[in-house]
């Protein structure tokens, strides 16, 4: 509960000081930073070369913008190295030549974007790694289910393939004041049942997430944190007002990620089990067959408000094993295979009629090191581990180039990314020297990794542990656990329950640095393994300023 109070406090503080935010309302676009600007003119050293100066940020002028604060936070994190920075995961798809399709950064696959390339490309099958956790679009928060519900449901805002915010069921959106934002609901939209979309449906859908008495205990509520409720402002103007508890710099980014719109009367007249096995949305596809845990079949919705979908049916099935997914693709049983592992890439490429497409994803892979236990309480030791890891080699050999090295928690292209920071270079001598300086020579450490949760997670952990183990003064090994076991340790809210050193991946669909740093590294973050007053201060400052984008 302490975390919750702190979060609230932060929003209240923000409310008091950020009247200026209002003026920025209505600006669209997800351009979190084009990667060239920096507000750190004092930065002359090469990223990562600092060794013992941990007080670096104090020598720099105080940032002035939200992006500046976030960039500064990233620098601090880079220097303090609470993580072993690894890489940005790539989404690698195998696809049939029967279709034309470009993957998206946020790992979502919209069948609407698929076009047939040949005559047999009209009925498309996708094999992903697992099936849905029920069809209620508001009762889940993970990519496999997203991929299923987004075919039939739509939100007010969505993102394009590059991550920019675009209007879908809203035709306009703006901040009315610091605690109110307004959406204008698109006209002439009908649900699959034939009912027309009303502003009432939109308000209900928002309330169903954030107000427990209206709907369900939605796991998306934290994504809409600070949203207190919605009401129809004007039926004629088709406007809906959303009330916030305080200034939320990224409220539109949040609405572009979650909050699918449902048909109020349909929801109210059916029970949860029915809603989880049927769909009633406004999306370009409607559900034609649902076999729980096995497959979901869609067919084109002919009354879609925009252009009709180019393909007539879309089927999603699942196979947990990557080789199985590729087998299905190569055998022509499937048109898109999700998460093709590196070693299967040549098989897909060499096969006639299939090819690989890949994009960088929104997921960063790292090894968290708990700041409160020996030997990880020493920043020098943590840096040493970063120097000990040959990231280039891991990306080249384990990931077979399907990843890009990182040196900060925020990914390139995200709001708050600091372009001046390079990944730590591989320098075992430096690492050994730092270990000596840290006073933890001879330490034994164990890296805990989940099995099969992330692309080649166990191999990466083994490689990291082996490389650290190569240091003359540290011995390291890797231990694998079930993902659920790791999750249960990581999510208790107590840092003491976490393993001292563990591999995790973090997907951030809001394209904003805060959604990575706040939960994972802030002192009061729900998953934090780290605590640093200066970092907390930088984040607080950042959250009191509006995001340049909205």
């Amino acid at each position: 509960m302490a975390d919750q109070n702190t979060s609230r406090r932060r929003f209240l503080t923000a409310t008091g000081s950020a009247a200026a935010a209002v003026a920025l309302a209505g600006c669209a676009g997800g351009d979190g930073g084009d990667g060239t600007e920096t507000d750190e003119p004092m930065d002359t050293t090469e990223g990562g070369m600092e060794t013992t100066e941990t007080a670096e940020p104090t020598e720099r002028p105080e940032p002035t913008t939200r992006e500046g604060y976030l960039q500064r936070a990233n620098r601090l994190i880079h220097d303090e190295a609470p993580w072993v920075f690894l890489h940005r995961q790539f989404s690698v798809y195998g696809q049939s030549d029967d279709i034309e399709w470009q993957p998206r950064t946020d790992e979502r696959v919209a069948a609407y974007a698929i076009e047939p390339a040949t005559d047999s490309g009209d009925d498309v099958v996708m094999t992903q790694s697992q099936m849905d956790s029920g069809l209620d679009p508001q009762d889940h928060r993970e990519t496999p289910t997203d991929n299923i519900v987004l075919q039939a449901y739509e939100g007010l805002l969505e993102r394009d393939a590059e991550g920019a915010i675009v209007e879908t069921l809203a035709t306009d959106y703006q901040r009315l004041d610091e605690t109110t934002v307004q959406f204008t609901v698109r006209d002439n939209v009908s649900f699959h049942s034939g009912d027309s979309l009303t502003p009432e449906d939109v308000a209900f859908s928002i309330n169903r997430i954030v107000q427990e008495d209206v709907g369900i205990a939605s796991p998306q509520v934290d994504q809409l944190l600070g949203v207190e409720g919605a009401e129809v402002a004007s039926t004629d103007d088709r406007t809906v007002n959303v009330n916030l508890s305080g200034l939320n710099p990224i409220v539109f980014a949040s609405f572009a990620t979650y909050c699918d719109v449902m048909n109020k009367s349909w929801v109210e007249s059916n029970d949860g089990a029915y809603i989880n096995q049927n769909m009633e949305g406004t999306g370009p596809f409607q559900l034609s067959n649902y076999e729980q845990g096995v497959s979901v079949e869609f067919q084109r919705f002919n009354d879609y408000w925009d252009d009709e979908a180019a393909i007539s049916t879309f089927t999603i099935n699942a196979a947990g094993e990557a080789s199985t997914r590729v087998n299905r693709l190569v055998a022509g049983e499937s048109d898109i295979a999700v998460n093709v592992p590196p070693q299967e890439v040549s098989r897909v490429e060499n096969n006639d009629g299939t090819s690989i497409t890949a994009v960088p994803s929104t997921r960063v892979i790292f090894n968290a090191m708990r700041y409160d236990v020996e030997p990880f309480d020493s920043p020098l030791f943590r840096q040493a581990i970063n120097y000990a890891v040959d990231l280039e080699s891991i990306i080249e050999n384990v990931l077979q180039t399907f990843g890009s090295a990182t040196g900060q928690p925020t990914l390139e292209g995200f709001f708050g990314y600091n372009p001046d920071l390079d990944p730590y270079p591989y320098d075992p001598d430096m690492a050994e020297q730092l270990v000596e300086e840290s006073g933890y020579a001879g330490a034994e450490v164990e890296l805990v990794t989940p099995i099969g949760r992330y692309l080649r997670d166990v191999e990466i952990a083994q490689a990291v542990a082996a490389q650290v183990d190569e240091l003359s003064n540290v011995s390291a090994s890797a231990r694998q656990v079930e993902f659920s076991t790791l999750v249960s340790q990581v999510t208790t809210g107590n840092i003491e329950d976490k393993p001292p050193w563990y591999l995790l991946g973090w997907g951030n669909a809001t394209f904003d640095a805060i959604q990575t740093i706040q939960p994972l590294l802030a002192s009061d973050g729900s998953l934090t393994s780290y605590s640093n007053d200066e970092l907390d201060r930088l984040l607080d400052e950042a959250q009191q300023l509006p995001s340049e984008t909205n």
Partner: protein, 357 residues
């Protein structure tokens, strides 16, 4: 011959010898088991490499005899887009890695040798645990009969109603809470005394070897707990019949305590079928352990099942990664089963088809 409370009659030894002489299969079994045992015990001496050492630039080398030159299309991610390079690649098998390497460039032969340790440790200790539990329950049930028997055997029924693999997976979840607290790394005496290092220098093998052996405590506890029923059934049956023997009746009439009678009279006479069952169970538990590792529910990465799971991802490109550990399992389990058959044929304890995955 006497081992603790167990005495082996000369007739038994004669039967064993006779069966061993007449059965070629028994001999094959003993040879296989001895080989696996030697590999497990002397792994730090004979493994060509440290099984954990990664040589990422030597990854996925084929076993000897499978050198292959082929045109390969290699795809690379360059700045977010795919570039395809077609080149002639010679995948050289090398005597350095006689059975090839896996995706991390670890030596398959060394991993197979070290995997024997995990399998045998789990197989042996798991069986001992299962036997201790099962025999205690079975003897108690069979000796006291009546309500005690009913209660214990209904418990056994419930236990049987759970598929052992499912029960094991569920229990591993339970025990993994304690996993970090249980000391499950044991120092490898061959390495810590420096003998392995000295020996390997001498014969020119690379050093150093892993200094500790991971004892997958949780898996051992779980497989022991899952497989007790088979021992309970056998022990109960033996106890039921032995308690009716005159000498047991006599011991009871003389006022011997129950524990003493069970330990001195019932157990020694029930030991033959228990031993035979234990042999078969070692095989069954090795299979169970490999299944658990395969599904990712094991405590160590040095396990045949784990390697198979990893190799499965490379089936289309590097078949040997899954094949080598699989063959290791098959050969060891065949060996143990053959020894079990030998013991069963020679001792004829009247058990057939008890135990299982």
């Amino acid at each position: 011959m006497k081992i603790g409370p167990i005495s082996i009659s000369p007739r038994t030894i004669r039967n064993l010898r006779k069966e061993f002489r007449s059965s070629g299969l028994a001999r094959i079994g003993v040879v296989l088991v001895v080989l696996v045992l030697l590999a497990a015990v002397f792994a730090p001496l004979i493994a060509p490499h440290n099984p954990r050492t990664q040589t990422l630039d030597q990854a996925q080398l084929p076993p000897l005899g499978f050198t292959d030159t082929e045109q390969q299309t290699r795809s690379e991610m360059v700045n977010g887009s795919i570039e395809t390079v077609t080149e002639n690649v010679t995948v050289n098998a090398t005597t350095t890695y006689p059975l090839g390497t896996n995706s991390l460039g670890q030596d398959m032969l060394s991993r197979a040798i070290y995997g024997a340790r995990t399998s045998l440790l789990v197989g042996f200790f798991g069986t001992v645990l299962a036997a201790l539990l099962g025999v205690t329950v079975g003897l108690t049930a069979g000796y006291y009969r009546g309500r005690v028997d009913d209660l214990l055997m209904r418990t056994a029924d419930v236990s049987l109603a759970f598929p052992s693999l499912v029960l094991a997976i569920a229990l591993i979840g339970l025990f993994s809470r304690f996993q970090a607290d249980v000391a499950y790394r044991i120092t490898d005496p061959l390495v810590s005394t420096g003998f392995a290092g000295w020996f390997r220098e001498l014969v020119g093998l690379p050093t150093p070897m892993p200094e500790t052996v991971v004892l997958p405590t949780v898996v051992i506890l779980v497989v022991g707990f899952v497989n007790w029923v088979w021992f309970a059934r056998i022990a109960r049956g033996e106890a039921l019949s032995i308690r009716e023997e005159e000498y047991v009746k006599a011991a009871r009439a003389l006022g011997g305590s129950d524990a003493r009678i069970v330990f001195r009279h019932v157990l020694p006479n029930a030991i033959t079928p228990i031993l035979v069952l234990a042999t078969i169970q070692v095989a069954a538990i090795i299979l169970l352990e490999s299944a658990l590792s395969f599904l990712g529910f094991s405590g160590t990465t040095l396990s045949w099942g784990f390697d198979i799971a990893q190799g499965r991802d490379y089936l289309s490109s590097s078949w040997w990664i899954a094949t080598v550990p699989g063959l290791a399992i098959v050969l060891s389990v065949i060996g143990i089963n053959l020894v079990g058959d030998w013991l069963r044929d020679a001792l004829d304890p009247g058990i057939e088809g008890e135990g299982g995955l």
